[in-house]
Assembly symmetry: C2
Homo-oligomer: 240 residues x 2
């Protein structure tokens, strides 16, 4: 019986990742950064299931790609089998499939979208939030629904600007980000700001790898940082 971690008191945190791998590294880095620890032993126990072969979430949401649900469920099951107390997913678009995963796998997840919407709604100066996200995340209405429910108006890029967003995301995934793309993406935030966005939500895990806070026309909200902090809180609440 090697599975039991007899000495540990904090729960095992699951990360479903690989979508893409760099975004998984980014989320795990932010979790480590958010952890108040003076040495190795103060950090959370984490299991990462990184399966980059999960079918493209954007294509599936657009209706012309393989359903990613089975592989997402397989990963969630691996996390559950290993004893994870809950899990998070390092891909916004994948959240469109998580309710169906939850029907198949008995393991709770913290939604990066719900955590972000709650945070933004609590900022007193925010009436509208601009969204930098994949076509898929926008089509699925993930952030729009959550923001509207929280009383915040979502602002999405115009069609040509959305092309820039997508080009940037796929360039990050292909490790081919160019300064011109970052500059173009900064321009997208200018136009979202002109149309009333009080903050910009980096609503795809690749966006913070392409745009820094000082390149954004409005405060740039990084959902991965918010999720990392929520994981710390949740793990503390569940610690024995």
């Amino acid at each position: 019986m090697l599975r039991k971690q007899s000495g540990s008191i904090t729960p095992l945190v699951g990360i479903l990742g690989g979508m893409g791998p760099a975004a998984t590294v980014d989320l795990y880095s932010k979790l480590i950064e958010a952890t108040p620890a003076a040495g190795d032993q103060g950090h959370l126990r984490v299991m990462i299931w990184a399966d980059p072969t999960v079918p493209d979430r954007s294509a599936a949401i657009a209706g012309d790609g393989e359903d990613p649900t089975p592989k997402l469920a397989a990963g969630a099951q691996q996390l559950a089998d290993a004893g994870a107390a809950f899990y998070i997913v390092a891909c916004n678009g994948a959240h469109a499939f998580l309710p169906r995963v939850r029907e198949q796998v008995d393991l709770d997840y913290l939604s990066i979208i719900d955590v972000t919407a709650a945070h933004v709604a609590a900022l007193p100066y925010v009436k509208s939030a601009g969204l930098l996200a994949t076509d898929a995340t926008l089509t699925a209405g993930l952030y729009q629904d959550a923001l509207l429910a929280a009383g915040v108006t979502p602002t999405v890029p115009a069609r040509e600007d959305q092309h820039i967003v997508m080009e940037t995301i796929y360039a990050v995934k292909a490790k081919e980000l160019r300064p011109e793309l970052t500059q173009a993406l900064a321009g997208v935030t200018d136009r979202l700001s002109e149309r009333g966005a009080d903050v910009i939500i980096a609503a795809c895990t690749e966006i913070p790898l392409a745009l820094t806070a000082d390149q954004s026309a409005r405060p740039l909200i990084d959902p991965a940082v918010l999720l990392a902090n929520e994981v710390i809180n949740e793990a503390a609440a569940r610690a024995r």
Copy 2:
């Protein structure tokens, strides 16, 4: 039966990490960087078991700390249970315990130390390699034995310099690295060079987070990069 990844052809790679978490991020990043992939789906499937509660390897090797073997074996068993084809360990010092883990858990590992010694021995200009490693890794003789067996003379820091190395490593783990420490560590490489080292091996996974190649008096060998490349080769060899 959610476990089977029916569509995949590359093996699952296991990473035993959390020792420390930042070094795990670094190793996984280097694996992603080493992978020739134009999008998510070209990357390797990876499972990371990051257990920072594994007892301190240095203390155990010095003979005054809890044995980390049971927790390392528990992690290796998790990787085996999930279907990993082989695993790597993001901590040099932990390699002292891996032969005993292998007796308990039926899963092969790629040794970061063997990979590095083979690489260094193949460099035609290298007669001696300087070692930046923990007290524990040096006490266990991990790199010295592997280098000597490969025909390379190991050069270890003098006592005061070794204190600088240890101080730097623990500062990285505590997220308290200061420029003075990096400068002092660069001085250590100067003295290893003066004593004949033709290359410097960053033989602790925290060292590359504290010292860049251009700050080292001799070419800085990063075992994590070498291991990442070896993982790509091994995964390709095992792909079905």
